[in-house]
Symmetry: none
DNA sequence: TGTAAGTATGACAGATATGTGACATTGGCT
DNA sequence: AGCCAATGTCACATATCTGTCATACTTACA
């Protein structure tokens, strides 16, 4: 499954509440999906694979509680974290909610800030990251763990984009990439940026690598660029 | 003592709760031991040497609090990390619990996922060896036993959070950490705090370290921070 | 050798990320 | 109650990065 933006599904039967939450989340940089009932919610979860579900406790038809349980039993949806929303005074239900598989529980009314904070906390817990080994080419070392690049043991001062670009090249050596492919891979698919921008960053990367290593990044005229240890 | 599987001892007088926890932990790949009272618990700890004890606050006979204190005083058991479990509304006791030697504190009800997350965090933090030994980098000394930091033999005035932050950095040198990771590791997984708060504490720590040592804490632009003796 | 297309390079202004001081709040302590 | 240290947040100051241009070079090929 492709890595995607931070999509959050809001399930609540009251449109005004969905709207309020959506505004808060969008301001925080999340993309929102909405559903007013569990049927819609289920299809959306399966189709869109959101990173999280905000689930109202009271829903027409299947209750939120019931729905949470069902999601956790279904392999396709079990991994998706759930935050339950509930009206105040139902504190006792908290246990039920959490036992049903919810990852957190927020009592209405809540501030947008609290919602976003807890949402982040839950996302943080549920997104583990892999460990990577350093990549070496001649005396050029890129260490993803330390987030460092060094050339013959001298640390290189390199910007974020150049770092990603170099990392991509070092993990995809010997092959030529078009500017478009590089924009997709290094900048991330849906950004609209001039192709020429790639040239500029290639230039910056070469400069940062210095005369000892800039030859590793070769221009493939009419096509794009290539990272290679062999001379062209 | 030999390194062994991830055995977790659950101490609670209610069988249903023990069971619920056990299921959650086993799904996460841990082996579970159970005890309903402190006598049993003590024998199991000595005999089986579990990697961690989940200890209910309320227990018949000796209270969980009392028991935690006893474990920490006993050389044979002092090394075993403890997470206290408590019912809601007893937040005030948190300090007591932590002072008694507990390594973390979870309020019931909690989600299985939260439990596992915090459990992992504690296991990660509790390095079996050397937590007693002072860590030195150049003239900077952090002494976990005295809970003190000195720079070139001059004691440093440093707040609790800055201390934990520095301790984390000194035990995890060279590696770059995102603000989120630092919040997890230093603040503890389940706090809802702005990411920028990390910046402020980094600032305070740098200030406390003074011009001789502040360079040890490096900014990794676009990513987070790193503690390193090497120049960036 | 002239020409057109493809690339390299330096400059720049807007966008982002981080540094920093100040403030309100909290909880322990006297 | 009043004080004090610690903490989290904010607003503003700085620093650094990024995308885009305009222009200078190269290369391929007629």
């Amino acid at each position: 499954m492709k890595q995607q933006g931070k999509k959050i599904l809001i399930v609540d039967d009251e449109a005004s509440i969905r709207e309020m939450i959506a505004v808060a989340l969008e301001m925080a940089g999340y993309e929102c999906l909405e559903a007013s009932n569990t049927q819609d919610a289920y299809s959306i979860i399966v189709d869109e694979n959101p990173q999280m579900v905000l689930l109202d406790w009271m829903l027409p038809g299947t209750s939120g509680l019931e729905f949470a349980r069902r999601l956790k039993r279904d392999d396709r949806t079990a991994e998706t974290p759930i935050i339950m929303l509930t009206a105040k005074g139902e504190e006792d239900n908290k246990i039920l909610g959490l036992e049903a598989g919810a990852d957190d529980y927020i009592t209405k009314p809540f501030s947008p800030r609290e919602l976003v904070a807890r949402l982040k906390a839950v996302l943080r817990r549920s997104t583990p990251q892999g460990i990577e080994d350093p990549i070496t080419v001649d005396g050029l070392i890129l260490d993803p763990v330390c987030h460092r690049v060094s050339a013959n043991d001298a640390p290189l001062d390199i910007g974020p984009t150049e770092y990603r670009l170099l990392q991509f090249f070092m993990t995809h050596q010997e092959r030529a990439y078009s500017r478009t492919q590089l924009l997709d891979q290094v900048w991330g698919g849906n950004v609209y940026v001039e192709e020429r921008t790639v040239d500029v960053h290639i230039r910056r990367l070469r400069k940062a690598l210095g005369s000892d290593f800039e030859h590793l990044i070769q221009t493939v005229r009419g096509t794009g660029y290539r990272f290679s240890t062999k001379a062209s």
